[in-house]
C-alpha cells in the first residue's frame, strides 16, 4: 500500500500541522503580556485584554454571567424555558459549546476555537480524572487555563474579586464580593450562640419521590449547615454526584423539623400523602419548596444564587434570629446580580410558591 501519493499526503499533512503550531503562538504572543497566579497558585500567562472566557462548567458560567455576561464565550448546555425568563437574550442565544461536568456535552475542540476564547476558567472542586483532559485541551488550542475555587460562599467573595480583576471589571467584581461578604457578616453573628440542641433538624428532599437526599458532608448540601441547620442524613457522600436514596421509614425515624423540597410538585403533594403524615415537619407545616429561578437557590447547579439562598434558608429556619425582609432582599439581589427588576407579584410567587 506504500505509494508516493500516501507519502506526499503525509508530508503535506505534517507540514500543515507544523504551520499551525508555528503560527498559532505567533498570532497570540503580542497580546499575551501578563503573568497571573490562579486561585490554586499556578502561574499562568494571560493576554492583557480578556474579552471572551470559556467556562468549563455551569457554576463557573453562572458566576461569569453575574460578573459580566458579555465575557462569556459560549454555553455549557442549552437553557430551558424557565431559565430564559430572567436571563439576557444575547446570553441564552450564545452558541452551545459544552463543558466538563460529567453529563455528556463534552466540547468539540473546533467549536471551542470558533468562539475564540482568551482564557478558560475551571471550577477547581477537587482534582478529578477530568482535570487532565481539560488541561490537555487547553494546551492543544493554546489557551490559558485558570482554576477558580467556588466551593463555599467565602470562595465566592474571593472569586468575584479575582475574576473581576482578571477580565478587567474590578469594580463590578468588588461590588458583588462586598455584597456577598455583607450577607455572610449578617448571617454569622445572627447564628452565633445558637445551642447545638436548638439547631433545627433538616431533611433535604430531592427527586420526584422526595426520597433522594444529600449527606451532611456533601458539597451539595452546604447551605443547611451554613444556615444553622443540622442535616439529618449523617454520612459521607458515596460519590461526588450525590443523590443518595433513602427509605421513607428512615426519614420517619429521624423525624426532621424542616423539609426542604427541591421538587415543587412534591412539596405540594407531601401534605396529602399519608406516608409522610407522621413526619414532624409535615405536621408542623414546615415543608419549604426551594425557589429555583433562574437557577436553583440551593444546589444543582451550585451557583451564586446560593448567596440569596443562604438568606432565604436562614430566615426560614430562624425567623426570630434573622428577621430579614426577604421580599426586599430578593429584589435587591436580582437587581444587582442579574440586572432584573422583579415586580412585587413575581417576588411573591417566588417566595410563597
Amino acid at each position: 500500500m506504500s505509494c508516493s501519493f500516501c507519502r506526499s499526503l503525509k508530508i503535506s499533512f505534517c507540514g500543515f500541522l507544523w504551520a499551525m503550531v508555528l503560527l498559532a503562538p505567533a498570532a497570540a504572543t503580542d497580546a499575551r503580556a501578563r503573568m497571573v497566579e490562579d486561585m490554586t497558585g499556578r502561574k499562568v500567562e494571560v493576554p492583557d485584554d480578556i474579552n471572551k472566557v470559556f467556562p468549563s462548567s455551569p457554576p463557573m458560567m453562572y458566576m461569569l454571567y453575574a460578573l459580566d455576561s458579555g465575557k462569556v464565550a459560549g454555553l455549557n448546555f442549552p437553557f430551558n424555558k424557565q431559565e430564559h425568563t430572567y436571563l439576557r437574550k444575547e446570553f441564552v442565544n450564545l452558541p452551545v459549546i459544552g463543558g466538563w461536568f460529567g453529563q455528556g456535552q463534552t466540547p468539540n475542540l473546533e467549536n471551542v476555537m470558533a468562539v475564540k476564547p482568551d482564557v478558560m476558567l475551571v471550577w477547581f472542586w477537587r482534582k478529578t480524572a477530568l482535570n487532565q483532559p481539560m488541561e490537555k485541551v487547553a494546551k492543544t488550542i493554546n489557551m490559558p487555563l485558570l482554576y477558580i475555587y467556588l466551593d463555599t460562599l467565602d470562595d465566592y467573595v474571593r472569586a468575584f474579586r479575582f475574576v473581576g480583576e482578571l477580565v478587567g471589571r474590578p469594580e463590578r467584581g468588588n461590588k458583588l464580593a462586598d455584597y456577598t461578604q455583607q450577607v455572610l457578616d449578617d448571617v454569622r453573628p445572627a447564628l452565633l450562640g445558637l445551642p447545638e440542641e436548638e439547631k433545627l433538624r433538616v431533611y433535604y428532599a430531592e427527586g420526584p419521590d422526595g426520597l433522594k437526599t444529600e449527606c451532611d458532608q456533601s458539597p451539595h448540601a452546604v447551605l443547611i449547615e451554613a444556615a444553622g441547620g443540622r442535616n439529618i442524613q449523617h454520612c459521607e457522600a458515596s460519590s461526588a454526584y450525590g443523590m443518595e436514596s433513602v427509605s421513607i421509614e428512615e426519614v420517619m425515624s429521624k423525624n426532621p423539623d424542616v423539609i426542604l423540597a427541591r421538587d415543587h410538585k412534591f412539596a405540594q403533594r407531601i401534605y396529602r400523602e399519608k406516608q409522610w403524615s407522621l413526619v414532624r415537619a409535615v405536621q408542623n407545616h414546615r415543608v419549604y419548596a426551594i425557589p429555583a429561578l433562574p437557577f436553583n437557590w440551593f444546589d444543582r447547579p451550585p451557583s451564586f444564587m446560593r448567596i440569596l439562598g443562604l438568606q432565604w434558608l436562614t430566615n426560614k429556619l430562624y425567623p426570630k434570629r434573622y428577621p430579614v425582609d426577604m421580599a426586599k432582599a430578593t429584589h435587591d439581589f436580582y437587581k444587582l446580580f442579574l440586572d432584573v427588576d422583579l415586580s412585587d407579584e413575581e417576588i411573591h410567587n417566588m417566595l410563597n410558591l
Binding site: E206, G207, S245, I248, E249, L278, R300
Partner: protein, 336 residues
C-alpha cells in the same frame, strides 16, 4: 405427591415472608406494639390514637404497597421469563428479548422529559413497552425463514433502536433533575409506590398471569417445536402471538410499577425448573411463587440494610449473577 409437597412448602414460605416483611423496616416498630395494634383493629381493644395512627400508616401506607409490589412484580417477571424461554425453546431468553424493557425504559424517560405528572410516565412506559414488541413482531414478518430466529433478531433490533433513543433522551434531559430521575428509574425500585398505583396496576398483572397459567398446556406443546405442535392441532401462530402479547403486557406493567428490575425473569425460571421440572403447568405457578419470594426478600434487604437505599435493580443483579452462573453449569440437565 412430592411436587405438591414442594409447592406447599413454597407457598407457606412466601406467606410467612409476607407476614414477616410487615415487621421489617428502618422505622423501629416493636412487635408488642404490632400485637396491640392487631388487637385494636380486630377486637377494638383500647389504644392511644396517635400510636394506632402511626402504626396504621406504617403498615398500610408504607409497607403494604411495597410488599404487594415486590410480590406482584417478582411473580410477573418470572412468569413472563418462563413463557418466553419455553416459547423460544431457549434457556438464555429473558422477558426483555423482544425489546419490551428497552421500549419501556425509553417510554419512561420520554415521559419524564415531557411531563411532571407521574401517571404520564407510567402510561408512557407501559405503552412504549408494547410498541417496542409490536415493532419487533412487525419486523419479523418482513422476512422469510425460521420464525423464532427472526423474532429474536427483530427483538434485538427493536431493543437496540429504543436503547439508542433512550440515550438521546438522556442527552437532551436537564442534567439537574430529569437526568438523575431517569437514571434512578432505570435502576429499578419501589420508592415511588403508593397504594393507589399498586391497586390500579396489580389486577392487570394477576389476570395476565392467570391467562398464561391457564394455557400452560399449549405452552408445553409449543416447546416441542413448531412442526410437532402443529401436528398436534395447535394453531401455532395464534398461540404464540397470544403468549407474546400477554407476557409483554405483564412485563410492561412491572416497569410502570418499579422501573427496570433485571435478572429476576432470567434466573428465577431456571431455579424453578431445576426444582420442579420443565412441565409448564407446574413450572409457571411455581416460578411465580419463587419470583415473588425472591423479589420480596431482595426488597426487604434494599429497604433496611443501609441508611441509604440501594436501587433494587442493582441488588437483583448482584444476587442474581452468582445464582445464574451456578445454574448455567447444570443448565443442560434441566432441558434434557
Amino acid at each position: 405427591m412430592k411436587k405438591s409437597f414442594i409447592f406447599g412448602v413454597l407457598a407457606l414460605t412466601l406467606g410467612a415472608a409476607i407476614l414477616l416483611s410487615f415487621t421489617q423496616g428502618r422505622y423501629p416498630l416493636h412487635l408488642v406494639d404490632l400485637w396491640h395494634y392487631l388487637q385494636h383493629v380486630l377486637f377494638h381493644s383500647p389504644m392511644a390514637d396517635e400510636l394506632a395512627n402511626r402504626i396504621g400508616v406504617l403498615l398500610c401506607d408504607i409497607r403494604l404497597p411495597r410488599i404487594l409490589a415486590a410480590v406482584v412484580v417478582g411473580a410477573a417477571l418470572s412468569v413472563s421469563g418462563v413463557t418466553f424461554q419455553a416459547m423460544f425453546v431457549n434457556p438464555l431468553v429473558s422477558p426483555g428479548i423482544l425489546g419490551v424493557l428497552a421500549g419501556a425504559s425509553f417510554g419512561a424517560a420520554l415521559g419524564m422529559l415531557l411531563s411532571t405528572e407521574w401517571a404520564v410516565v407510567q402510561v408512557s412506559a407501559f405503552s412504549f413497552g408494547m410498541i417496542a414488541v409490536g415493532l419487533a413482531l412487525l419486523l419479523s414478518h418482513f422476512y422469510k425463514g425460521d420464525r423464532l430466529l427472526l423474532l429474536i433478531l427483530s427483538g434485538v433490533i427493536s431493543g437496540s433502536l429504543f436503547t439508542a433513543m433512550l440515550s438521546i433522551i438522556k442527552y437532551l434531559a436537564d442534567p439537574y433533575d430529569q437526568l438523575p430521575a431517569i437514571v434512578y428509574w432505570l435502576m429499578g425500585g419501589f420508592s415511588m409506590i403508593s397504594l393507589d398505583t399498586i391497586s390500579t396496576l396489580a389486577p392487570g398483572i394477576l389476570i395476565g398471569i392467570l391467562i398464561i397459567v391457564a394455557f400452560a398446556n399449549n405452552l408445553n406443546l409449543l416447546t416441542m417445536g413448531e412442526e410437532e405442535a402443529r401436528s398436534l392441532g395447535i394453531r401455532v401462530r395464534t398461540m404464540r402471538l397470544m403468549f407474546i402479547v400477554v407476557a409483554t403486557l405483564i412485563s410492561s406493567l412491572t416497569v410502570a410499577i418499579g422501573g427496570i428490575i433485571g435478572w429476576v425473569g432470567l434466573v428465577i425460571p431456571h431455579m424453578s425448573r431445576m426444582i420442579i421440572g420443565p412441565d409448564n403447568r407446574v413450572l409457571l405457578p411455581f416460578s411465580a411463587l419463587m419470583g415473588a419470594l425472591f423479589l420480596l426478600v431482595v426488597d426487604n434487604v434494599s429497604r433496611q440494610v443501609f441508611t441509604v437505599e440501594i436501587p433494587l435493580g442493582i441488588l437483583t443483579s448482584l444476587l442474581g449473577i452468582p445464582a445464574f452462573a451456578g445454574v448455567l453449569r447444570v443448565a443442560r440437565k434441566g432441558w434434557g
